[in-house]
């Protein structure tokens, strides 16, 4: 069983993600955030289970649904919120928006709005780390996250083959919510044997069906230990469920393209609720207060920050 310290930490980070995203959903109607937002509400345990096991100088690469992992990896929250507001103080000065959160200092290497395309880039980062480790003696690890849809892109297989061939220090994680926008898995995958397939590349795979944050974290801890010893890549498929619409702030279960019973099952399995119950009330309330305070602070920061000046349009087209 996990000790209270870890449980509290996981709880707090999941809650932080949940609350930040629900707040985003809440203020979205004000048009303060002029950006398509792809919320991870309901999927937090993956980001948190994965990132909690990482060190600060390990790296995650993200899809456009990147708030959760950015937060879990320790991305700067003030800069995140300001970025959503399109402010000069944002992590990308307002140029990137919700779909491309980045914080290199804290190991968030960025995110792409084009499905699948960060997978090879993350693989290349892992290649660099493999070489770097030969000099530093320390094997940093890359985590490449993608959705179930992302695994349908050719570059996914190309990256998997290359990573296995060169035994790269990378963990591929598929957040399988069985949806690509509104299209269910059954209309996109010939079979459900993704892990079996990846195993044929000589890659160790794990399939986690219940989104249990402790299982995810444990799997990561073991995977990281193996990889740091040179095992080569590892693949983890995590089942999960997206509570809200694909993009935007709303619950769209009324749209009737998915099963509300499944929704209820996943809600009952909510890892935030679960861990909340595992904590003593005082700790829980304290964490909730901390989260609430952070929320206020980052929102205030975002609101009060200035928009970028006109000349910023022309900066950073080319690196000097």
């Amino acid at each position: 069983m996990y000790d209270q310290i870890i449980t509290a930490r996981l709880y707090k980070t999941m809650l932080l993600i949940r609350q930040i995203e629900l707040r985003i959903a809440e203020i979205y109607y004000t048009d303060a955030i002029k950006s398509p937002v792809h919320l991870s509400v309901g999927q937090e345990s993956i980001a948190v289970g994965v990132c909690d096991a990482l060190e600060k100088d390990d790296i995650v690469s993200n899809t456009y649904r990147c708030h959760a992992t950015y937060i879990a990896k320790g991305g700067n929250l003030f800069e995140m919120m300001a970025e959503l507001y399109g402010k000069a103080t944002g992590c990308a000065g307002g140029k990137a928006g919700s779909m491309h959160l980045v914080d290199i200092k804290n190991g968030v290497m960025g995110a792409s709005a084009v499905v699948g395309t960060t997978i090879p880039v993350a693989t290349g980062y892992a290649l660099a780390m493999q070489n770097e480790a030969k000099i530093t003696g320390k094997q940093r690890v890359v985590v490449a996250l993608c959705g179930d849809g992302g695994t349908e892109e050719g570059c996914f297989y190309e990256s998997i083959n290359f990573a296995a061939l060169r035994k790269l220090p990378i963990i591929f994680i598929c957040e399988n919510n069985r949806l690509a926008i509104h299209t269910p898995l059954e209309k996109r995958w010939a079979t459900d044997q993704l892990c079996e397939r990846i195993a044929t590349f000589g890659i160790k795979t794990h399939k986690i069906d219940d989104a249990d944050v402790f299982t995810i974290r444990d799997t990561m801890v073991n995977a990281l230990a193996d990889i740091r010893k040179g095992s080569g890549p590892i693949f983890i498929e995590c089942a999960t469920y997206r509570w809200l619409e694909h993009v935007g702030p709303l619950d769209d279960h009324k749209d009737d393209y998915r099963n509300t019973k499944e929704y209820q099952t996943w809600k009952d399995n909510d890892q935030i609720l679960r861990l909340g119950k595992m904590l003593d009330e005082k700790t829980r309330i304290q964490l909730e207060d901390e989260v609430a305070l952070t929320l206020q602070q980052i929102e205030k920061f975002a609101e009060e920050s200035p928009y970028p000046a006109a000349e910023e349009l022309y900066t950073h087209v080319y690196a000097s």
Partner: protein, 367 residues
């Protein structure tokens, strides 16, 4: 909603009755009519059969034509484009959809190495009657990877046709022509045009590929505008009218093959050509049109008119609104440029009034 034209050229030109409908519905009608007419036509791509139906442009089609002729695919742009090409070679007429033009970068190989070349390389033995629908995104923080307009890349390659209709009438008529065309046609839509309304004939009609349209006649300057920039150019014309300048606005509609004749006739009359592209400038449609204008003048030994161009800023598109606004030409910046071109460099500066709320500001998704 934002109605594009008070008196559309469509209305006068077509003999049949018209109705005011949205761009997106005009497209849907084209699919429905052509699929009913020709059993070889089918439509596929990500999301075409979900309840949102590509902003509504494909809604109801699967119910009507079945799952063999309207279906979604896995996220595999490269192979799905090849699939479309193969089906076209086999005698079908696929319409393949990309909800963002940016995603076409994933299937450039199939489009350029296979679709564009098969007919020529096989010396006519093979035809590729394929329509690739693709949408330019804009506004509400679409950002660098959801806002690109890459038509010049396709114009560059012999064997492809490129069309970018800017109103409901041309959307429907060009789509019908594109479906009937025996070549791969890159069909460029614009997210901000979808809800704009235009007069569309009730009867089926083709808008011929390769023919430009003079949208409003004028005598002082020719403004050629592409895709959504047509709306900005028409608004710019209004601004210019208020200072007594009479602009002729031309929509090339088809970007390749280019109808330079229509453009040059206008330029010979006005002596001035301002090309407003909805894309980056370098090696863009704007450089091509200006170069051809210059070449045609040299050919005919007439003096070269005043030529200028506008388009996206030479940067990636930023998400934040204040910078995004600067990234695009708009009615005011177009009007000012046209004003300078007609009044000469020494004319006093002029600031057109701030435009009313447009489809750009109104847009908040869905994406």
């Amino acid at each position: 909603m934002f109605t594009q034209v008070e008196k559309t050229p469509a209305q006068t030109e077509q003999m049949s009755e018209t109705r005011l409908i949205r761009y997106v519905d005009a497209l849907r009608e084209a699919f429905e009519e052509e699929m009913a007419r020709d059993p070889k036509v089918f439509l596929f791509g990500l999301d075409v059969d979900d309840h949102k139906g590509i902003q509504g442009s494909t809604i109801g089609l699967q119910e009507k034509f079945g799952k063999d002729r309207v279906f979604c695919t896995p996220l595999s742009e490269d192979a799905m484009t090849g699939v479309a090409i193969g089906a076209a070679i086999a005698g079908y007429r696929p319409i393949h959809v990309h909800i963002r033009m940016d995603f076409m970068l994933l299937c450039m190989n199939q489009l350029v190495n296979m679709a564009a070349k098969s007919h020529y390389m096989y010396n006519g033995q093979v035809k590729v009657p394929l329509v690739v629908r693709t949408m330019i995104g804009r506004s509400w923080g679409q950002g660098g990877q959801h806002s690109q307009a890459l038509h010049s890349m396709f114009m560059h390659v012999p064997g492809l046709k490129v069309v970018a209709p800017a109103n409901a009438h041309d959307a429907k008529g060009c789509m019908i022509s594109a479906i009937r065309d025996n070549n791969p046609v890159i069909f460029i839509e614009h997210r901000l045009l979808y809800s704009t309304e235009g007069y569309v004939p009730t009867k089926s009609y083709e808008v011929p590929l390769g023919k430009a349209r003079i949208l409003t006649e004028g005598t002082d300057i020719t403004i050629v505008a592409v895709s959504h920039m047509v709306m900005e150019a028409l608004r710019a014309k209004k601004h210019l009218e208020s200072v007594g300048i009479n602009a002729e606005v031309i929509d090339p509609i088809t970007l390749w093959p280019l109808d330079m004749e229509t453009i040059m006739q206008s330029v010979k009359k006005t002596g001035k050509l301002l090309m407003v592209d909805n894309a980056w400038l370098t090696c863009g449609a704007s450089s091509e049109i200006l170069t051809r204008a210059m070449e045609m003048c040299q050919e005919e030994d007439i003096s070269i008119p005043s030529l200028a161009r506008m388009g996206f800023a030479p940067t990636t598109c930023p998400t934040t609104k204040p910078l995004e606004n600067l990234f695009y030409p708009d009615a005011r910046s177009i009007a000012v440029k046209a004003y300078q071109m007609t009044q000469g460099k020494k004319a006093k500066t002029w600031e057109p009034p701030v435009s009313a709320n447009t489809e750009i500001d109104a847009f908040k998704g869905p994406f």
